[in-house]
Symmetry: C2
Subunit: 149 residues, 2 copies
């Protein structure tokens, strides 16, 4: 279940995604939070920085810098994590992930759960609408970002 804190942090992830859309990038945003505190926030930087590893989640984790532990954190992402970001969540020991939506992309939720990660899908209408619009407008960019032909 989404708490009020979850809703607030997920909205920041959405705002990052929207900023990415406005920049002409892939509109996926993310927040790393420790309870009520935002540790870092980021967004996909494929277009903006020409960086293929900077998915939203990765950009947030990079901006967080070196952390003593991730065991007390939650990762918020506007879109369901790909295998890169899924592997990173597992490797970093992030115990809880709140996903804006997995209607337009997804599939790694059960793998995360099998590794002990709590996964909550918000089914957020704004997240769904933003990704749907992006995929319609820039299918080549989206396919590049998920390495699909």
């Amino acid at each position: 279940m989404l708490s009020e804190t979850d809703k607030k942090h997920l909205r920041v992830a959405y705002d990052e995604a929207k900023a990415g859309y406005d920049e002409g990038g892939c509109p996926i945003g993310s927040v790393l939070a420790r309870g009520d505190t935002v540790v870092s926030q980021g967004r996909n930087q494929r277009v903006q920085q020409g960086d293929p590893i900077a998915h939203g989640e990765m950009d947030a984790l990079r901006k967080a810098g070196r952390q003593k532990t991730y065991k007390d954190t939650t990762l918020y992402t506007s879109l369901s994590p790909c295998m890169m970001c899924t592997g990173t969540i597992i490797q970093f020991g992030i115990p809880r992930v709140v996903i804006g939506e997995n209607k337009t992309f997804g599939g790694n939720e059960d793998f995360l759960r099998s590794k002990g990660v709590e996964v909550i899908v918000a089914d957020d209408p704004d997240c769904i609408a933003l990704m749907t619009r992006f995929i319609e407008e820039k299918p080549e960019l989206w396919n590049e970002d998920i390495a699909e032909d």
Copy 2:
């Protein structure tokens, strides 16, 4: 089996690892290659840039920039990939990974193979010696890099 090209590229990955050691960082290096051509080379940047997502493989993939496809590439890494880098290899559709060694760290080789990735372990004495020395000298840094307590 390692080809002569493989041996050459793996040596560049080792040289990157050694340069990381000399900088006081985590000594893990990587090369992305397309046949005989080095597309990019990188090394772990946790200490140097304070960047927790920049494992050797990730740094090489970042430096390669946006690629049309990874299907014709091989990723070389001085050390067996963690779950972040493993997920990235799968997500990017990299079909072949040459690993310097998996004596000091490993465990994701079979998962990579289950996803259709060809995995070759070179058992390289220089790679083993460098990581062994590093882990002995800086166990806290190493544990931080692999998110172990």
